[in-house]
């Protein structure tokens, strides 16, 4: 049993640790512990018997658990490698700016429309409720706070998870399938530095800017909606909107957008970079990028709201 446990740990280490040097040290160390125990026949026989008693179901579950741990460790190793390469001397500035353009500039039309619709719909839906309480004058402030604090960042991040995340997953996935990543590696280019770091950083930096842009369009959309059933000048609308907004309404939500960007970049590049060999895996990588990034955006938002609430309280 002892040997079995040690061998299980050893096998999991072999699966989890990808770095060959670290792995060699760990394996050598573990073997030194296992070898003397193995020569005791009674323990060895007991181990063989206990292994043979394990059902297929147990073995399948153990393998699944091992795979989950491997994937989990892979993500951390991937993030660690990307972080290390981000501080490399040979940073790929040209590719980074190209990605900023791809992620930032090319997403602007989509974000403009989405932002304007967010503000418009929010105003139209809220107006009747506030009207019942005779508080229509609070409408610009309420919509602006909603947009700045929550709706702007989250909806923009979800849109970007769909557009940017899936794009990264599909692009890197197809590069993996067609051996372009291997070609990069054999031509002495670090694909993590060139493909992964540039995309993660570009997403991290561009998303906050896109959120600000979406917020601006949302407020303009809200003004348009306010004028459908009323008559509000732009100056009055803005003075009512920003009269109630504090810096604390803006700062925490702005900070969390960096995390949204980072998580979209990490998930998109990880899924694409680790895509399988067939063409089917490109679709899987793209789909998984969107689903996982969207889910993580919502989880990070929940944590950010709790943390902000605790700090403000």
């Amino acid at each position: 049993m002892i040997i079995h446990s040690l061998e299980c740990i050893l096998n999991i280490f072999c699966l989890v640790i990808n770095d060959p040097i670290v792995r060699t040290y760990i394996i050598d160390g573990m073997k030194k512990i296992i070898t003397p125990l193995k020569i005791i026949p009674k323990i060895r026989d007991a181990t063989v018997q206990s292994i043979s008693k394990l059902s297929d179901k147990t073995l399948v579950k153990t393998e699944a658990a091992g795979n989950f741990l491997t994937d989990f460790a892979d993500v951390f190793i991937f993030i660690a490698r990307a972080t290390k390469e981000a501080f490399s001397r040979d940073f790929e500035f040209r590719e980074f700016f190209r990605q900023c353009y791809q992620i930032g500039n090319k997403t602007l039309p989509l974000i403009s429309v989405t932002g304007a619709i967010m503000g418009l719909v929010l105003t139209i839906q809220t107006r009747p409720v506030l009207d019942d309480f005779g508080a229509v004058s609070l409408l610009p402030g309420m919509v602006t706070i909603s947009l700045l604090r929550e709706i702007g960042p989250v909806i923009t991040a979800l849109i970007c998870a769909g557009k940017i995340g899936s794009g990264m997953g599909a692009e890197l996935g197809s590069m993996r399938v067609t051996e372009q990543i291997d070609a990069m590696e054999v031509s002495s280019t670090n694909p993590i530095r060139f493909l992964v770091v540039t995309r993660i950083l570009a997403a991290t930096l561009m998303l906050p800017l896109l959120v600000l842009y979406a917020d601006a369009f949302g407020i303009m959309g809200s003004w348009v909606a306010a004028n459908i059933k009323g008559d509000v000048t732009l100056t009055l609308f803005f003075s009512q909107a920003f009269g109630v907004v504090d810096f604390i309404d803006f700062l925490p939500s702005f900070i969390k957008t960096f995390f949204f960007g980072a998580v979209i970049g990490i998930v998109g590049t990880y899924k694409g970079y680790h895509a399988g060999r067939g063409t089917e895996s490109v679709g899987i990588a793209s789909n998984a990028s969107v689903v996982l990034a969207s889910l993580l955006v919502l989880i990070i938002d929940m944590i950010a709201v709790q943390v902000t609430d605790m700090i403000i309280a």
């Binding site: 692009e171 590069m175 051996e179 990069m184 002495s188």
Partner: protein
């Protein structure tokens, strides 16, 4: 000077072709329970074209992917220019790869870049000392040597299969590698284009003084390009010899390639 360059300089026998520049000893590689390479021992000598012949699934591609470090061998040693690649760290491997060109079966051209950018990509990173005009001259020279000077500004999607393979070869030789590894260079091409690619492999060997390992199951390509042939069968070296040895062989396993 990189450790590899030092090694070449300090090992003058490499230059007159007596010592192997790639040595593989007792190489084993498995994928799960499937043992693909079983105890492979072979060498590549300076200036020669070594063809590794074998049927699909015999482990040919796995062999050169182990040499270039895209796959880690389970057992055995691989030495390139007298340096064991098994012990190299990422940085040392990166230095070594600057001396080795690898032509992928699919070509593996970067889809999002033009032909010029594809060729410029390794050049910027490997030959950092070159100016922009020197890089452009080099790219033009290489494209002319493969007979495609007119495709400079085209995207890979605009090229035919044969042209993609040639451009991919140009991208590989643009950094002046000492060793060339060809993974199925004629797969998926018509007989005429296959003949042209085989010709181009010989041209690269003569012009750029490269030593090459050519992985193929195309016997015509093997006969046209080889100085020496190694045949893999079920993960082992089944036969090693000259082109004539293979042509004159009456072994049914070998003659099946000529049918």
């Amino acid at each position: 000077m990189t450790p590899i360059e030092k090694n070449i300089q300090h090992n003058p026998t490499d230059l007159n072709g007596l010592n192997p520049i790639i040595e593989i000893a007792n190489l084993r590689k498995s994928f799960g329970s499937l043992e693909v390479l079983k105890d492979i021992t072979m060498s590549l000598y300076k200036g020669e074209n070594l063809v590794v012949l074998g049927k699909s699934g015999s482990g040919k591609s796995v062999l050169i992917k182990c040499i270039i470090g895209l796959l880690d061998p389970d057992q055995g040693t691989i030495s390139v220019f007298g340096t064991k690649v098994n012990d190299m760290n990422r940085k040392q491997f990166s230095e070594l790869r600057k001396k080795i060109g690898f032509l992928f079966q699919s070509g593996a051209l970067y889809d999002s870049m033009t032909v010029k950018q594809n060729l410029e990509f390794p050049l910027i990173r490997v030959k950092k000392q070159l100016t922009k005009s020197e890089r452009e001259d080099k790219i033009k020279e290489v494209l002319e040597s493969i007979g495609l000077p007119e495709v400079l500004d085209k995207m890979p999607s605009e090229l035919s299969g044969g042209m993609r393979k040639r451009v991919s070869l140009a991208r590989t030789i643009v950094v002046d590698p000492l060793i060339m590894l060809y993974d199925e260079p004629t797969t998926g091409l018509d007989p005429v284009t296959s003949f042209e690619i085989s010709d181009l492999i010989n041209h690269v060997q003569t012009k750029y003084k490269t030593s090459s390992i050519i992985i193929t199951h195309d016997i015509n390509c093997a006969l046209k390009t080889a100085n020496r042939i190694i045949m893999l069968e079920d993960g082992i070296v089944y036969k090693e010899g000259s082109v004539m040895d293979f042509k004159n062989s009456d072994d049914p396993v070998i003659t099946s390639f000529f049918i």
